[in-house]
């Protein structure tokens, strides 16, 4: 509790979450994978922060670290994650006791994952599983839990909710299962939802339904969302604020319009240019142009380059890029880890 009191002055009134210099390492016998390095970002109440990055960029490990769900051999190597509880108390999630985390997880901070099939227990009905979430955190009877579960299924627009309560996960399509996951995560009325690639396994038509649902629930219930994705199109649709991660670091952070209008970091520029885009990929005569791509591969977590981690793949790299790369503010709310950003724009 002491650290909670000490931390109080640091969290601005309008923030629900502030991650500062967070580092997560996976320590093996003779080597260490630095999966998350010096990551900082903050999330305003009622807003959506998207963390975007490719495989291995550390976006999922960041969220697992915050939730205290790191398995062996992962450990927090530094930094903190300040969170404002519903009762106003401010806690550092990386140092909170297991007991406190159990009261926060699921009730105040809920999580949904990419693959709704593996997140649901195949042996229990969806009604039982949604109700269990409520019964873990609130003293309600079985009947009441069932009634609330039914109300949640209606909220996430599952037709014929009363009958669907007794379905098992395998009776449902991927989109339906993701709706069940959302119902389960929402039943305790959390103030923060962490969504880790929630639409990646779904068809675009179903993805559009789920994004629409999440936007509506956020508007009606006022929750904040930390949305983890690799898809820039989804980012454009759902985010207010964006943090771009590469090789365990945040390389750029900005309000969503600024990021797409004038990206500052060469990695973000490269990522946006790699997406096929009719307006750009065909010339005036309709002849196909080459897609812009980022050469090379992501560096190994065991052998990060000196200085800027993107430099080995960056076409603007110079000898100076092996020096320390610091995340710095270039315009209001717009941060970049590249010292050359102004020269590239």
């Amino acid at each position: 509790m002491l650290e909670a009191i000490a931390a109080r002055p640091d969290l601005a009134e309008d923030l629900v979450l502030k991650v500062e210099n967070l580092s997560t390492h996976f320590v093996f016998k003779n080597r260490t994978a630095k999966a998350v390095r010096d990551v900082s970002f903050s999330l305003r109440k009622g807003q959506t922060l998207a963390i975007v990055g490719e495989s291995g960029s550390g976006k999922s490990v960041t969220s697992l670290t915050m939730m205290g769900l790191l398995g062996h051999p992962g450990k927090v190597a530094g930094g903190r994650a300040l969170y404002r509880r519903s009762n106003g108390e401010i806690v550092d999630l990386t140092k909170a006791s297991h007991r406190m985390m159990r009261t926060i997880r699921g009730k105040e901070i809920a999580m949904i994952f990419q693959e709704p099939m593996t997140s649901l227990n195949p042996l229990f009905t969806v009604g039982d599983q949604i109700g269990e979430m409520l019964r873990l955190h609130e003293p309600v009877s079985k009947d009441e839990a069932r009634a609330r579960a039914k109300a949640m299924l209606e909220l996430v627009e599952i037709p014929d909710a009363g009958r669907r309560l007794d379905d098992y996960p395998h009776h449902m399509s991927g989109g339906m299962r993701q709706r069940v996951m959302i119902a389960m995560s929402m039943i305790c009325n959390p103030q923060l939802l962490i969504a880790d690639e929630p639409t990646t396994a779904l068809d675009v038509t179903i993805q559009a339904q789920i994004l629409d649902l999440m936007r509506r629930l956020q508007r009606d219930m006022g929750m904040s969302i930390l949305f983890i994705t690799h898809n820039m199109g989804v980012v454009a649709e759902i985010a207010d604020e964006v943090a771009v991660m590469y090789a365990g670091e945040v390389v750029e952070q900005a309000p969503v319009n600024d990021l797409f209008d004038r990206s500052l970091h060469p990695y973000t520029k490269g990522l946006l240019a790699s997406i096929p885009n009719t307006g750009r990929d065909f010339d005036a005569n309709g002849v196909r142009q080459r897609l812009s791509s980022i050469d090379g591969v992501v560096p190994s977590l065991f052998a990060m380059p000196e200085g800027c981690s993107f430099a080995p793949r960056c076409k603007f790299a110079e000898p100076k890029c092996t020096g320390p790369a610091v995340l710095r503010t270039v315009a209001e709310g717009h941060l970049t880890r590249c010292w050359k950003s102004e020269m590239l724009a």
């Binding site: 490719e54 559009a208 629409d212 997406i275 812009s292 050469d295």
Partner: protein, 317 residues
């Protein structure tokens, strides 16, 4: 116009299951011109993969014809089919499960050469080296195992394996779907280069519409085993005519936060192929559906010089 290189006629594949018959591909007809890339799009369960594999006879069809250069692949006897397989290859989606982890790269690519008795043993090494360089890898990579490569590099190995027998026609089944977007762009550029250099004809199966728009000359939109719309890619993307194509295109997220989204969100899921709707298979999710859509099965008919759709209300909506 000359005869198409590949002509699919009334192709049908029905799987008999304990729960009933699944009409995975239902009376599908389309053509592919030599050297062109045709995109095959649709949601999961629409029959894309079954259609691609049936065309290669990796799955035996229930009925219909697949003409390659005028020759019906489905009627070829075993020996002739083996020769035909040299002309037709496949690249898979998952670069992790489609390469044998216990085989070295030279064995993976060389297996195709020895099966088809191409080159002497000594020459095969040079052929493999040449293929690796052609797909952007190095010749000395041939003595490594698949786990030593990244996802993008593995996909290059898969492409080299398909190219080994000098095929004319390639089915690329979701070949870039598992890759990160920056790597995906590398592989798309490679496929574009190879296509021009080797004059390949490609059936490109994908669920990502922007990728298909970039790479493909023509597009076939599949829904529950039937073609909803087909035509030249640009007009289909600019003015989709079938209600399903419209919904599919408007559902795709665009990387522009200021884009106006007056989107037609489809209600519900794709119906079970065990009990597809009567009449038009799309009618249960279609905002324009009328009573007669439940009675008649729409035939594919031209709506413009460049597009054909299967919709009873083609002229009205």
């Amino acid at each position: 116009m000359s005869a198409p290189y590949i002509s699919v006629r009334n192709l049908t594949k029905t799987f008999h299951t304990p729960a009933g018959d699944v009409h995975a591909v239902n009376n599908v007809s389309f053509d592919i011109a030599r050297g062109s890339v045709v995109g095959l799009v649709g949601e999961s369960g629409s029959g894309k993969t079954t259609l691609g594999r049936t065309m290669l006879r990796l799955i035996e069809p229930t009925g219909g014809e697949v003409l390659v250069d005028g020759q019906d692949v489905l009627k070829l006897p075993h020996a002739a089919m083996k020769a035909m397989r040299k002309k037709m290859q496949i690249i898979f989606q998952d670069p992790f499960s489609s390469l044998n982890p216990r085989m070295r790269v030279d064995a993976i690519i060389g297996e195709a050469l020895s099966t088809h008795k191409i080159g002497k043993r000594k020459e095969r090494r040079d052929i493999v080296a040449g293929l690796l360089e052609e797909v952007g890898l190095q010749a000395d990579h041939m003595s490594r195992y698949p786990h030593e490569f990244s996802g993008g590099q593995r996909q290059r190995i898969g492409i080299a394996r398909a190219l080994a027998v000098e095929p004319e026609f390639i089915v690329a089944d979701e070949s870039v779907s598992a890759l990160d977007v920056s790597v995906q762009a590398q592989i798309l550029n490679l496929m574009q280069d190879l296509r021009e250099k080797r004059n390949l004809t490609i059936l490109f199966i994908a669920h990502d519409l922007s990728v298909v728009e970039y790479l493909c000359d023509e597009v076939v939109v599949l829904y529950l085993g039937r073609i909803a719309e087909t035509g030249i890619a640009r007009p289909v993307y600019e003015q989709p005519a079938h209600p399903y194509t419209r919904a599919l295109l408007s559902a795709a997220p665009t990387p522009d936060p200021r884009a106006v989204r007056n989107r037609e969100i489809l209600v519900g899921d794709i119906p079970s192929p065990l009990s597809p709707p009567s009449g038009c298979v799309f009618r249960t999710r279609c905002v324009y559906a009328q009573d007669r859509c439940a009675q008649e099965i729409p035939e594919l008919a031209p709506v413009s010089a460049a597009q054909q759709i299967a919709c009873l209300r083609a002229g009205e909506i």
